[in-house]
Symmetry: C2
Amino acid sequence: MEPEPSTGRTAALPGPCSRWPAEQGETIRQIIDRAGNKWAVLVVGSLHAGPLRYTDLLRSIPGVSQRMLTYTLRQLRRDGLVTRTAYPEVPPRVEYALTDLGETLLIAITTLIDWAGTHHDEIQENRARFDETEAAV
Amino acid sequence: MEPEPSTGRTAALPGPCSRWPAEQGETIRQIIDRAGNKWAVLVVGSLHAGPLRYTDLLRSIPGVSQRMLTYTLRQLRRDGLVTRTAYPEVPPRVEYALTDLGETLLIAITTLIDWAGTHHDEIQENRARFDETEAAV
DNA sequence: CTGTATCCACGGCGATACTG
DNA sequence: CAGTATCGCCGTGGATACAG
């Protein structure tokens, strides 16, 4: 891990753009890299009901590519938010599950989702109004 | 507003990549475009204490470019999260402030920030351990 | 002071092909 | 099934210059 240790161009995906001097925003960066990542949120959300296999995740999250699913799962494992369990069978079976820490994140995220749900309509109205008076230019 | 009405390449910034069929993830998208945006979060955070002028925001958010600050403020206004008040003086003075809706978002975000703060160390340890056993390959 | 317009480098990530 | 390796498009956002 850690940005670009390897041969090619994107062999191990480079960490997200973290180009600033570790000022106050660093904490924010942390959060955004977890909870502001669409795929990460969706994975954590999908795992809420219980463990899932790789392919199941792939299917339960429409639009995600293998590349990003693999990458996201790796990040989440690294942070200790999900666990990976491989069963020595054939064909191979691998299950991903939320850790306790992952559960707490899910709860925190849920707060935001609720907020979004609660104010979604209001925001839509605001936008419409804004765009209207805007277009009046 | 709305992606690319104008001449050049990025004249009015294009909306964030929203290339998927409005499935379940759409709600998530909404959230991420608000609370997952570094600058948006930082602006809302900076406005917590009270109204600020454009230049003050520019300074209180290290690393933000004029471009992004302007763009972010516009988005936030559009969503009804902040207000813009221009005073007809010379030199011109413009103040940005959180709306009530903006305050509620701030609260929701704060939950996440708290989560990050609480578990920051734990995550760091997890990462260190992961990278270590990882390097053992 | 408060923006707006333009240019363009960098890197995220989808698409695709291949391996154990 | 569960990944890994590569390629390349184009969105993102910094830098810069200019305007009201």
